[in-house]
């Protein structure tokens, strides 16, 4: 229903989007993850037809982004999206309803965005988090098949954030596709059933949060040894993705912790204070992007 084929976009010498192929499916909740400058916002701009790709095609529901939007199939909330000034919240949401071919009732939209009490306030007088909720209300004023959110919970407090994701889960459960860019990795971990990691304008990883963690070396193993040990022997351990020896403390990242720990005993070592823990998505993400940066730096050096 959403597809990117060989999409590129450059601004001057910067390749913001460097050959992206993607498919999104109905009912998916997809997180778009990446460090600043990874191409998240550019990708969303291309998806929404706000910018045209230099090459490749972006297809929404079998047509162009502009047409899909005109048909009321897409709701979007952008960081860069501003609000009309000098109007009341109720009036602005009313406008969004009027422009949407399949609008929800006004009270329902206001309730879902937790704006009922603010309906008669002027938009200009709202706090950042409250304005963010108004943007959300505009993006969900009608029955969209695809909802695109760029850093949606920026400026929201914890309870507003929870309420927000509650609403989004309900949208996804109703068969809508939700695509959101975020830098809150715990949000991606907790909410998305698919995580796409962007880095330097390319798709670095695409899978469930668990898969991404596994790819990056999902387990962290740490232990102390009685005596200093030869690093070379440890480096030969199976399933190892990273090794750090400081004094008698050893820290390992492994994609198969059972095999690695077994092999540690096999070396005749006796690890004390052994800890085996899962990596968070954040660490996985850092490991993934750092690995590519190392690889490119290596290539450049050759």
């Amino acid at each position: 229903m959403v597809s990117f084929r060989g999409v590129t976009k450059r601004y001057g010498a910067v390749r913001a989007v460097d050959g992206i192929d993607l498919e999104l499916h109905p009912g998916e909740t997809v997180a778009l993850l990446g460090p600043n400058g990874a191409g998240k916002s550019s990708t969303l701009d291309l998806l929404l037809g706000l910018r045209a790709p230099d090459s490749g095609t972006v297809d929404l529901f079998g047509t162009t982004p502009q047409r899909a939007i005109a048909q009321g199939r897409v709701g979007a909330m952008l960081q860069s999206g501003g609000l009309m000034q000098g109007v009341k919240v109720r009036e602005l949401v009313g406008l969004a309803r009027d422009l949407h071919p399949r609008a929800y009732p006004l009270d329902a939209i206001l309730r879902a965005a937790d704006l009922t009490d603010l309906a008669d306030r002027m938009v200009d007088k709202l706090s950042g988090g409250q304005q963010q909720r108004v943007r959300f209300a505009l993006a969900t004023a009608g029955a969209n098949d695809l909802i695109v959110l760029d850093e949606p919970t920026t400026g929201m407090d914890v309870s507003a954030r929870q309420a927000f994701w509650g609403t989004m889960r309900a949208q996804a459960a109703a068969g809508r596709t939700v695509l959101f860019a975020t830098h809150y990795l715990e949000e991606a971990d907790a909410i998305a059933d698919r995580v796409i990691v962007l880095h330097r304008g390319t798709v670095l990883a695409d899978g469930t949060a668990t898969e991404i963690k596994a790819r990056a070396g999902a387990r962290r193993i740490a232990f102390d040894l009685d005596t200093a040990v030869d690093g070379a022997a440890l480096r030969a351990l199976p399933a190892l993705t990273a090794l750090e020896v400081s004094g008698r403390t050893v820290r390992i990242q492994s994609h198969d912790a059972d095999a690695t720990v077994h092999a540690v005993y096999g070396l005749g070592l006796y690890p004390r204070n052994l800890e085996v823990a899962g990596l968070g998505l954040e660490q996985a993400f850092l490991a993934l992007t750092a690995a590519t940066d190392d690889a490119t730096a290596g290539e450049a050096g050759r």
Partner: protein, 245 residues
């Protein structure tokens, strides 16, 4: 689309500064300028000051509302990202510009009527019924030329540049069009040049009607050419903005 127009109008009515400059200011200025010299002939014209300035100020007021209002608002809303947000709704691309022009034109109408009312009640201007109606209608229709110019400026400039550019156009056009003082007191070459300034043709619509005839075809033609020029310029700038922003 209708909701957007209504909302734009309601918002304009709430904006006291905008309302002052577009509705109260033109009739006020008219009474001040034409105040002292009742019945005095305009130099080199058959009209008296009350009649001349009534038309000139009606044109000036309408231009204030549509040109300054549109230029500044569009530039500001582009910067805020509201235009971008609207582009993500089912509103067709032309809808935003259309609503802006429609709303500005709605606000300019009361200012035109107030100037004419001040002319009739305070300055004792007497005209046939058809002349009143024709002046109001032609001044209102003519204001669309400047609404389009306002849209073009709004898409051309951003931030701090908008006000100087729109003010330069506004004052330049008002002066060269003879809206503040008749051009007959200026050198002949300025008068020759002014024949092709849109505001001059704009005010000439009204003065011709006051003289008892319909608007001159030449003035109508000049305005139509400018309308085409400003509309296509605005459309081109809008498309450029869509590709970039």
């Amino acid at each position: 689309m209708t909701t957007l127009i209504l909302l734009e109008i309601r918002r304009a009515l709430r904006n006291k500064k905008f309302m002052f400059f577009s509705v109260i200011y033109p009739p006020g200025l008219y009474l001040i300028i034409a105040g002292g010299a009742d019945g005095a002939r305009m130099p080199g014209m058959r009209l008296d000051m009350g009649m001349y300035y009534m038309v000139a100020m009606a044109a000036f007021g309408a231009m204030t509302a549509v040109l300054l209002g549109n230029a500044e608002q569009i530039a500001k809303e582009r910067e805020l990202g509201w235009v971008r947000q609207l582009r993500l709704t089912a509103l067709p691309g032309r809808g935003y510009v259309g609503a802006k022009i429609a709303a500005a034109a709605t606000v300019s109408l009361p200012s035109i009527v107030l100037v004419l009312l001040a002319g009739a009640v305070v300055k004792g201007v007497r005209l046939e019924v058809w002349q009143w109606a024709a002046i109001a209608l032609s001044t209102w229709l003519g204001s669309f030329v400047f609404a389009a110019l306002g849209v073009a400026i709004g898409y051309l400039a951003t931030g701090d540049a908008v006000r100087p550019i729109s003010m330069l156009c506004y004052f330049g056009l008002a002066f060269l069009g003879g809206l503040w003082m008749p051009l007959t007191i200026l050198p002949q070459w300025v008068q020759n040049l002014a024949d092709y300034v849109p505001t001059h043709a704009y005010a000439a619509l009204g003065t011709a009607i006051e003289g008892g005839t319909g608007p001159h075809p030449k003035d109508v033609a000049v305005l139509l050419v400018y309308l085409a020029l400003f509309v296509s310029g605005a459309a081109w700038l809008y498309r450029k903005d869509t590709r970039k922003a």
